[in-house]
C-alpha cells in the first residue's frame, strides 16, 4: 500500500465555490474546535500496543476499515438522519443503542456535549446534548450547511484526529501521517456518497477488531488516551 494516491483535484480546473457556510463547517470540524477530540484514540492506542498497527500503512488499512465497516460509515448515516428528521433525539437514542462499549459511548457523548455547548453559545442554537455525529448533523441543518459537504468533512476530521493520535503514539511520523489522510480522501468522499439516502436499518458494524480494541482499552495501562 505504498503507492502514491493520485491527487484527485490537481487536474480539476472547475471553480471551487466558497462561501461563509463552508468556513463555518471547517471551523466546527477543525482540530482546534473545543470538543476534546485529541483525548480519544477510538481503540487505536490498544491496536498499536498490541502491534496490530505498526506503521503508516498499517494505520491507513485500519482507518480504511473504520470508514467502510465501522464508526465512519455508521456516523455518516447518523449525521444524515439527524439532518433530515424532525426529532434528532430519536436518532440519538438509536445511535446510542448501536454503540458497542463503554468508552466508545463516552467518546461520542462527551465530544457531542462539548460541541453542543460551543455551537449553542456562539451560534445561538438550542441543541440538547447528543452524540457527536448526531449533534453535528443537527447543527448543520439549523445553520443551513450542505449535508454532503458536512459528511465528507466530518469523515476527514475523524481520520485526521485518529492519525494525529497515532502520531503521538509514535508508529507514524508527521509527514507519513499527512500521506495517510490524503490517501483516504477518496474513501471519505465515497462513504459520504454511498450513505446518501440510507436509513437507520442500513447501519452496521463489522469492524470487530476495532471494537474489541476499544473494549480492551478500558483496562490498558499505562495509557495516554481516554478511548
Amino acid at each position: 500500500m505504498v503507492m502514491a494516491a493520485p491527487i484527485p483535484t490537481i487536474m480539476d480546473t472547475r471553480p471551487m465555490p466558497i462561501d461563509a457556510r463552508l468556513l463555518t463547517l471547517t471551523q466546527w470540524l477543525a482540530p482546534g474546535f473545543p470538543t476534546g477530540a485529541f483525548a480519544y484514540s477510538h481503540g487505536i492506542e490498544t491496536a498499536i500496543h498490541d502491534g496490530w498497527i505498526a506503521d503508516a500503512d498499517g494505520l491507513e488499512a485500519w482507518l480504511r476499515d473504520c470508514l467502510t465497516d465501522g464508526t465512519g460509515r455508521a456516523d455518516a448515516i447518523w449525521l444524515r438522519l439527524a439532518h433530515v428528521v424532525d426529532d434528532p433525539l430519536e436518532i440519538d437514542a438509536k445511535a446510542r443503542a448501536f454503540t458497542l462499549g463503554h468508552e466508545r459511548l463516552r467518546e461520542a457523548e462527551r465530544q457531542g456535549s462539548a460541541f453542543v455547548a460551543t455551537v449553542n453559545a456562539i451560534w445561538n442554537l438550542a441543541l440538547p446534548d447528543m452524540l457527536l455525529a448526531v449533534a453535528v448533523g443537527r447543527a448543520a441543518r439549523l445553520a443551513g450547511l450542505d449535508i454532503d459537504a458536512t459528511v465528507a468533512l466530518y469523515l476527514q476530521a475523524f481520520v485526521a484526529n485518529l492519525t494525529s493520535a497515532a502520531i503521538r503514539l509514535s508508529p507514524v511520523g508527521q509527514t507519513a501521517g499527512q500521506r495517510v489522510i490524503l490517501h483516504l480522501q477518496d474513501l471519505c468522499l465515497q462513504v459520504a456518497d454511498q450513505t446518501r439516502g440510507a436509513d437507520a436499518d442500513d447501519v452496521f458494524g463489522n469492524a470487530f477488531l476495532s471494537d474489541i480494541a476499544a473494549m480492551r482499552h478500558e483496562t490498558l495501562e499505562p495509557r495516554l488516551f481516554q478511548s
Binding site: 496490530w52 452496521f204 476495532s210 478500558e218
Partner: protein, 255 residues
C-alpha cells in the same frame, strides 16, 4: 416454533408449545429450568428457507434454549434463508439463548434477526457463534450474503442494537486488519441483569487479545470474540458462558 415457560409453586414447566415444519424440540428432564433443545431436521439452511422461533420465559420462570448441533447455511441456488427469533424474559425470569455455531458455507445467503425484550428484574444470557467456512476442511473461500441483527429492548425501549453485514467475498473482508485479521470464528454474547459489573471482571480474565467485554449500561454486558476456528472459539466461549449462566452448559456444548 412457539414456546413459553411458566413457574408455578416454585416449579418450572412448559406453558405453551407448538412447532411445525423442520423444527423439532426435545425437552430433557431438568428440575431447575425448562430446557429446550432445538433441531433442524432438514439438515441445514438454504435459499428461501424460513425459520421462526418465539420463546418467552414467563414471570419467575427459567428457560434455557440450545441446539442439538451446529447449524449449517449451505450454498443458496436462489433467494435468502431467513431466520426470525423473538425472545422475551418477564419479571423475575431467567432466559438463556445458547445455540451452537452457525456454519456459513461458500455461496450461502442468510438473513437473521433476533429481538430480545427483557423486563426489569429479569436476567438474560444470549450468544450467537458464527463460523465463516470450516478452515480444517480447507474451506478458505467464502462468499455470499450474511446479515445478522440483534436488538435488545427493555419494556419496548431500545437498549442495544448490533448489526453485521458481511455480504460479498466474506473471507476477504475477514482478512482486513480492523475486521478480523483472517480469523474466521466470531461470537457475540450479551448478559443483561444484576451481575453485569461483577461478570465484567471475571470474563475479562478469560478473554484472549482477540476478545473484548464492556458494560454499555450498569446492567448490560456485551462481549465480542474472534478465534481461528470453532474449536478455539469454544475453548474461550464455554468458560465465558458458564460464568454468565452460573451453570454447566447443556451437554452438546462440550468441547
Amino acid at each position: 416454533m412457539t414456546l413459553s415457560a411458566k413457574c408455578h409453586a416454585g416449579r418450572n414447566g412448559i406453558d405453551r408449545f407448538r412447532t411445525s415444519g423442520a423444527t423439532k424440540v426435545v425437552f430433557p428432564r431438568r428440575a431447575d429450568a425448562v430446557e429446550a433443545i432445538m433441531l433442524n431436521t432438514s439438515g441445514g439452511l438454504t435459499g428461501g428457507d424460513r425459520f421462526q422461533a418465539d420463546a418467552r420465559a414467563g414471570p419467575d420462570s427459567q428457560l434455557v434454549l440450545t441446539t442439538q448441533a451446529a447449524e449449517r447455511a449451505y450454498r443458496s441456488q436462489s433467494g435468502t434463508a431467513r431466520i426470525r427469533t423473538r425472545l422475551s424474559a418477564a419479571e423475575g425470569a431467567t432466559l438463556h439463548w445458547l445455540p451452537q455455531e452457525m456454519i456459513v458455507f461458500d455461496g450461502a445467503a442468510l438473513d437473521r434477526r433476533l429481538d430480545l425484550d427483557v423486563a426489569g428484574g429479569a436476567e438474560a444470557v444470549l450468544v450467537e457463534p458464527v463460523i465463516f467456512g470450516r478452515r480444517a476442511m480447507g474451506e478458505t473461500r467464502v462468499s455470499g450474503v450474511f446479515r445478522d441483527r440483534i436488538t435488545v429492548t427493555r419494556g419496548g425501549t431500545p437498549l442495544y442494537c448490533d448489526r453485521i453485514d458481511l455480504s460479498g467475498l466474506m473471507s476477504a473482508r475477514l482478512c482486513r486488519p480492523a475486521i478480523a485479521r483472517g480469523l474466521t470464528a466470531l461470537a457475540s454474547a450479551l448478559y443483561i441483569g444484576p451481575r453485569a459489573e461483577a461478570l465484567l471482571r471475571l470474563v475479562r480474565e478469560i478473554l484472549p487479545r482477540t476478545g473484548g467485554a464492556s458494560l454499555v449500561a450498569p446492567d448490560f454486558l456485551t462481549i465480542r470474540l474472534l478465534a481461528e476456528d470453532s474449536y478455539l472459539l469454544r475453548q474461550t466461549l464455554v468458560p465465558v458462558l458458564e460464568c454468565l449462566t452460573r451453570s454447566v452448559l447443556p451437554k452438546f456444548w462440550s468441547l
